[in-house]
Symmetry: C2
Subunit: 340 residues, 2 copies
């Protein structure tokens, strides 16, 4: 099969890879319908993380081609959406809703690599969710988004305790930030402040439910959020950038007793304990337990109540993955979908 391999930073190739096979009785082989490039794929691309002939990709939708003998919840022919973290969905941690910390957790990005025609998905019953039927083609991008970017933005909004009566501030206008805006709206937030300087993304943020746009960053951004919230700060803040500055901006924008949800941090972020302490806020972060939300997200998409797929602004065939990486690296695209 054809699949993406990153030889080293900046050097992405599409080449022949072995077809995946069932290894464990809990595995499924999925023939992918679409996959995509994640903001986090740019870390090795830019040399921030090491890359040495690494298979790439962790977002995926497709049709089940083969299942192991113990797989019960999905069957051959099912259209499925999977989480970017493998989970058994039965252990105590999964049952508490934290499937990304499952005792069998495994990152699809590191060992499987779904920027490819097919993928072996371990713990298929606990990782994949079948859609109610074969989807209309226009639903594919949205279903794909559920696999990570929507699931992650949704988790960020839940972690920030977004809900009725709440003012939610979203730091970051990348795909995850935009999905957090969508999620905050769905969760019933009263006011949604998108922090963005990018006119096109501001437009999309407003489309997804942002009521206010703040262009200022850092301390000025914090001051602006305070000004908009009677001096108190936002009830709920989503951090969807992951730099030192953005993290501290998010801390500063959260009111005392408020909630900060964060879904990615760079390796060099060091949080000053004393600042976090005196902020007096709740925090919740980590790789999103997408599997917790998948059934509901699939239904919302199926019922055309949300259209997260709009976050993809460039569609390329898998063979042109290198151009997709380049477009995202150069910020010509927010998020690239790869098709077959």
């Amino acid at each position: 099969m054809r699949g993406v391999v990153m030889y080293t930073a900046g050097d992405v190739r599409v080449e022949e890879r072995d077809d995946p096979k069932i290894v464990e009785p809990t595995d499924a082989i999925v023939k992918l319908t679409a996959t995509c490039i994640c903001g986090s794929d740019l870390w090795p691309y830019r040399g921030i993380e090491p890359a040495d002939h690494q298979v790439m990709g962790h977002e995926y939708v497709g049709v089940v081609e083969e299942v192991g003998s113990e797989v019960k919840n999905v069957k051959v022919g099912d259209f499925v959406v999977g989480s970017f973290v493998i989970s058994d969905n039965t252990c105590e941690i999964c049952q508490a809703g934290f499937q990304s910390k499952c005792v069998h957790a495994e990152f699809v990005a590191q060992t499987i690599g779904t920027q490819a025609e097919k993928a072996r998905i371990p713990h298929a019953d606990g990782t994949l969710v079948a859609t109610p039927g074969q989807p209309e083609p226009e639903l594919i991008p949205s279903l794909l988004a559920a696999s990570d970017v929507l699931g992650t933005g949704w988790y960020a909004a839940v972690a920030a305790d977004a809900g009725p009566g709440k003012t939610v501030a979203v730091v970051g206008d990348g795909a995850v930030g935009l999905m957090a805006v969508l999620a905050a709206k769905q969760l019933g937030a009263e006011r949604i402040i998108a922090m963005s300087r990018h006119p096109e993304r501001q437009k999309l943020a407003r489309y997804y439910g942002a009521t206010d746009i703040v262009e200022e960053r850092g301390e000025e951004g914090v001051a602006k959020i305070k000004e908009l919230t009677g001096g108190l700060g936002a009830h709920s803040v989503v951090e969807a950038v992951g730099t030192q500055e953005s993290f501290m901006q998010a801390v500063g924008a959260t009111r005392g007793g408020g909630h900060l949800g964060y879904v990615g941090v760079n390796y060099d972020v060091k949080i000053p304990g004393i600042e976090l302490f005196f902020a007096g806020i709740h925090t919740l972060g980590g790789p999103a337990p997408v599997r917790r939300f998948l059934p509901d997200l699939i239904q919302l998409i199926w019922d055309r109540k949300i259209d997260p797929g709009k976050v993809f602004d460039l569609t390329l065939p898998l063979e042109q993955a290198p151009e997709g990486y380049k477009a995202m690296d150069e910020r010509r695209a927010t998020k690239v979908i790869l098709t077959f």
Copy 2:
């Protein structure tokens, strides 16, 4: 009146200070019955924080001697317990239960200094709580504990989401850690693991409800907690030390999706963002909103359901405050009560 002043690190004196007077109509003057020395008072004593002729003390119980014209909830003659942070208890932040982040928040330690015969308490209605009557003398230490050390330990346990069915690990066997053990027990925790190497404090921890003692620290301590919890980590972890090592020990001891409550950090603690991220845990910290818990804590003490006062292991008259500081600094005492 007589009161404690810290001239500089290590130099504590009891000397004449001006009697406090009503300044604002929301003030009350309290004649103190007892006060005490806090672990945090040792920071300037040891030169970790600056001290320059600074009034000391922020824990207090006593009898209301005078009230301003707008004070309604307490009256002259009432026996009162107050929080170590001033709050109006009416603003939006207070109403959400985060009185230590009140829009009128003021630290008693910095401006008032309750290691003295009397104290002016601003926002008396929102800061003080009257006991049901004049307390029996043996209740005084416990009521005094509610002012900070019990309230803080209680908050830490609440922040860690301690409750029925939960395994709670407490990092730190100081007075706050011991109070967190007491709180976890009251909140219905199933298992309470005290991390302590000190035989006397282990004994007190068991008295307050600890079911297990772990003597290991750092990574070994984390490994031991994992061993005791089926490899998962504790549901709830209280951090009651405040060093880099103890904070990261607490992070490591918390299971994915679990809760970490922390109630003090040193100025030099830097939390590696990536470690906190991949831990996938809830955190809540900050100066405890003691005022939220005071009515319930007073009632529990009044009904003799809890006896936090046992945490005081040295009683001295105010005039001997310097010896009290010395005893705590040299770890001859866990917590010193000062009487009149």
